[in-house]
């Protein structure tokens, strides 16, 4: 049988080729099958009897093998490469997810031949328009909405801005009051802080130690001039799922608009405007195996919104600018895929997550779970390790090939204390030692066991 070696970068592949030639190993290059993701699209095929020797050679030469596959007639089967350097395990799906091959395939024609502007009359334009329409239907289906209620945006942050600012700008004369929570994403929190600077009032609701907003507190915060309640569907850092149905009912009864940032929930839990009384809802493609650079706002009454970007009549005047056709096709394909998988997602992913929790908590004493024990996204595990620096743990894990996060990914690359954990009144020491694992498709039980084993080893070493 033949084996294929896959590398993280083209540079590593080239180093590997050089080392193999210099040491007289026979090898050939193979294109990577579509279902296998790696940094380099070429793999090196080698003889079975040479594998052990090559693994040893690469270890000495410091060449990192990303994956070892047995090449069979049914496709490539992943093998555990004994003694190879780290395989990159990705447990940072709340930051972003890999783009699904189905999504890439759906997008490709619109990056190549189908370059039309959806506003054009001719056949190219019609093709683009029809692709956008279809994507809008898929996204609407995911959200239990009508296609006319979907506005495509450039990202989740833009959709959140459009929802909150858009409704506020519609009442610039009267101003008024907004209710939100202390654990929102920055693209809601900082919009609210901005609204305060131009004369609006905002109530930032506290959360309990599990990160949850109390619907009674929402009710109590309502004033005569409250026009908007914005509470996220689920939290990005700890995964706590908010009581959106209860909050939505309160909002509906009091005739107040309810917006929910569902960026973290879409694809991981049912986000259904038919089941939950919600007036606006934000999603972002790259959080559910779609591309970056495209998000969507579900909005029940688009005519009440003031757009952020004025211009042409794109998105029915709600978001001017020539449509990002490949991106919109991508979010549509990702929405379709998410709907197909939503049945199996919770059980499968929470099974892996709970396995990780069991193995890690068995191996390290005193590790604490941040977030709600039950009402939590199936993929999110935020842990605090006593006496450990979370950032150092994160780097240690990266050096072992395991990708996790210390809460929200920060654009500057350095880390500030989490506003979410602070709002949950997690003690400073525990915040410092916190790390977030957010799982997704593509991980196996074996992977998770290996991750747990590595986490335990690294934490024990750090404690010495």
């Amino acid at each position: 049988m033949k084996y294929a070696l896959v590398f993280h970068t083209t540079h590593q592949t080239m180093l590997a080729e050089e080392a193999l030639s210099l040491n007289g190993f026979f090898f050939d290059t193979l294109p990577l099958p579509k279902d296998i993701k790696a940094g380099c699209t070429l793999a090196l095929s080698v003889k079975e009897e040479d594998v052990a020797g090559i693994v040893g050679l690469f270890r000495n030469e410091n060449i990192v093998i990303e994956g070892l596959y047995a090449v069979t007639e049914h496709g490539w089967r992943k093998e555990a490469a004994e003694g190879t350097a780290a395989v990159p395990f990705y447990l940072d799906c709340n930051a972003t997810t890999p783009v699904a091959p189905e999504v890439v395939n759906a997008m490709l024609p619109f990056l190549e031949d189908e370059f039309g502007n959806a506003s054009s009359i001719h056949s190219y334009g019609r093709m683009a328009r029809s692709a956008i329409d279809q994507a809008r239907e898929h996204v609407a289906a995911l959200l239990g909405a009508d296609p006319s209620e979907i506005v495509f945006t450039g990202c989740g942050s833009e959709a959140n801005n459009l929802a909150v600012k858009g409704m506020a700008f519609a009442r610039l004369g009267a101003r008024g009051h907004v209710i939100t929570s202390a654990v929102e994403h920055a693209s809601v929190l900082n919009v609210c802080r901005y609204l305060e600077t131009i004369g609006f009032d905002v109530t930032y609701l506290p959360v309990d130690s599990a990160g949850m907003v109390d619907p009674c507190a929402v009710e109590k915060a309502i004033r005569h001039d409250t026009f908007l309640i914005s509470v996220q569907w689920a939290n990005n850092e700890v995964g706590t799922v908010q009581p959106v149905a209860a909050i939505g009912e309160i909002a509906r009864d009091r005739k107040i608009l309810f917006h929910s940032d569902a960026v973290q929930a879409a694809g991981k839990a049912a986000v259904d405007a038919l089941a939950v009384p919600v007036d606006m809802m934000t999603i972002s493609a790259h959080k559910f195996n779609g591309p970056k650079g495209v998000g969507a706002l579900y909005v029940k009454h688009p005519h009440r919104l003031v757009p952020l970007i004025h211009g042409g009549k794109h998105e029915r005047g709600m978001r001017a600018g020539t449509e990002n056709v490949p991106g919109i096709v991508g979010i549509g394909a990702a929405a379709m895929l998410a709907m197909e998988r939503i049945g199996e997602y919770p059980e499968r992913i929470s099974g892996l997550r709970d396995l990780l929790w069991r193995e890690v908590s068995a191996g390290v004493s005193g590790v604490a779970l941040n977030g709600h024990p039950e009402e939590r996204l199936p993929n999110t595990l935020n842990l605090s390790f006593p006496g450990i620096d979370g950032e150092s743990l994160l780097i240690n894990l990266d050096l072992e090939g395991i990708k996790a996060s210390t809460g929200a990914a920060c654009s500057s690359g350095s880390i500030a204390a989490s506003h979410v954990l602070e709002a949950m009144r997690v003690p400073a020491e525990r915040i410092k030692g916190s790390i977030r694992f957010s799982l997704g498709f593509g991980l196996t039980e074996e992977d998770v066991r290996l991750v747990a084993k590595t986490v335990v080893e690294v934490v024990r070493r750090m404690k010495k």
Partner: protein, 358 residues
């Protein structure tokens, strides 16, 4: 766990980049660390500085080319506590600080060495021009510090406070090379920083204007008298923090012969000026002496003493002078022995130790 992991302190300059390159070629499991030292609000001001955002981008790019992990760590609070606060306090006391020595000792080979160990690194490396030599002395490993091979670039002066438990875990991969060879290696490996100019300033002082920096830090000192060596008042100063021993320019006193700052007296709040000859000093006291591989002198020790980075090491004898002090006597008087600077003692290529000029 990995045995040969090395953390390289990357400044974005050519020296630390080549340090990483060399270690990687030697087969170490290398990763790069750059520390963010600037406070958020100075982000724009310091763009072109050695430790500014530009430097971070360069370090990141080099690590990308070398295909090694890169981490930016925020040490702005620690940098302020360890380095900037010390820097300001010394000027307030009428002394001339040396922040690079303090940064090396407390931050780079203090906090960051501990951090590197926490990250599983067996060693920490930097692009300093100095060498560490391990010798077995009665079955015990002893480390000594040597000058860098390139005499013009030697940075051992800035490293005299290193102790045995630091030296054992430090690598200076470019210490045995000269600058031209370092640049050649960088160019050969396609490192984008191979022709980046050397940094010569204090990294956190924009435009080398320390007076503007101090005033931006909110430091103002009362004005006072400028007196000559006989005690005669010859002018006024705007705060002793604006003067350095040996300074000639900008004293603001007109005289036939050029005046130099000879001494600063914080208790009297005076700046003492005199002629060039008044700057010559035959002996002085050094505080908090540190010895790298041997104890301090019992009676006397012949050394070559270097009293500032740009001064040559000149013959002197070091005598004990009570608790945590030594007295240094030059063979020939030297000009402008400046309180706050370090006096570093050499024997040949080796750094014996040093201390802070009282």
């Amino acid at each position: 766990m990995p045995k040969h992991r090395v953390a390289v302190l990357m400044s974005g300059g050519v020296d630390s980049s080549v340090a990483a390159l060399v270690l990687k070629r030697q087969g170490f499991d290398v990763f790069g660390i750059t520390i963010k030292v600037w406070q958020e609000e100075c982000e724009k001001v310091q763009r072109e500085n050695c430790c500014g955002p530009r430097a971070v981008a360069d370090a990141r790019r080099v690590c990308e080319v070398l295909d090694i992990p890169f981490y930016l760590l925020n040490y702005s609070r620690e940098f302020k506590e360890d380095v900037i606060d010390y820097f300001c306090a010394e000027y307030r006391r009428g002394r001339t600080p040396n922040p690079c020595i303090v940064c090396n000792q407390k931050l780079k080979f203090g906090r960051l060495l501990a951090r590197a160990r926490e990250l599983g690194a067996a060693k920490i490396a930097s692009g300093h021009y100095a060498s560490i030599e391990e010798r077995y002395d009665g079955g015990v490993s002893k480390f000594s510090l040597r000058k860098g091979k390139d005499a013009k670039k030697d940075q051992s002066y800035f490293l005299f406070e290193l102790a045995q438990d630091q030296l054992c875990d430090i690598l200076f991969p470019v210490g045995g090379m000269d600058k031209a060879a370092v640049r050649g290696l960088a160019a050969g490996a396609g490192l984008p920083v191979h022709d980046k100019p050397d940094s010569v300033e204090i990294c956190f002082i924009p435009g080398d204007d320390y007076k503007a920096f101090l005033s931006a830090q909110g430091i103002a000192m009362p004005s006072g008298k400028i007196v000559d060596t006989s005690g005669k008042v010859v002018g006024r100063h705007n705060g002793i923090h604006l003067y350095t021993v040996g300074q000639r320019k900008g004293i603001g006193v007109a005289a036939k012969k050029p005046y130099y700052v000879v001494r600063i007296d914080p208790r009297e709040n005076t700046v003492v000026v005199g002629g060039n000859d008044d700057l010559l000093v035959k002996e002085f006291v050094v505080e908090m002496p540190h010895w790298i591989a041997c104890g301090g002198p019992q009676t006397s020790l012949c050394v070559d003493a270097k009293i500032r980075y740009n001064a040559p090491a000149v013959p002197a004898v070091v005598h004990p002078a009570g608790k945590a002090k030594v007295r240094v006597v030059f063979e020939e008087p030297q000009r402008a022995v400046t309180p706050g600077q370090a006096a570093v003692f050499y024997q040949g290529e080796f750094v014996l130790g040093g201390g802070w000029i009282a």
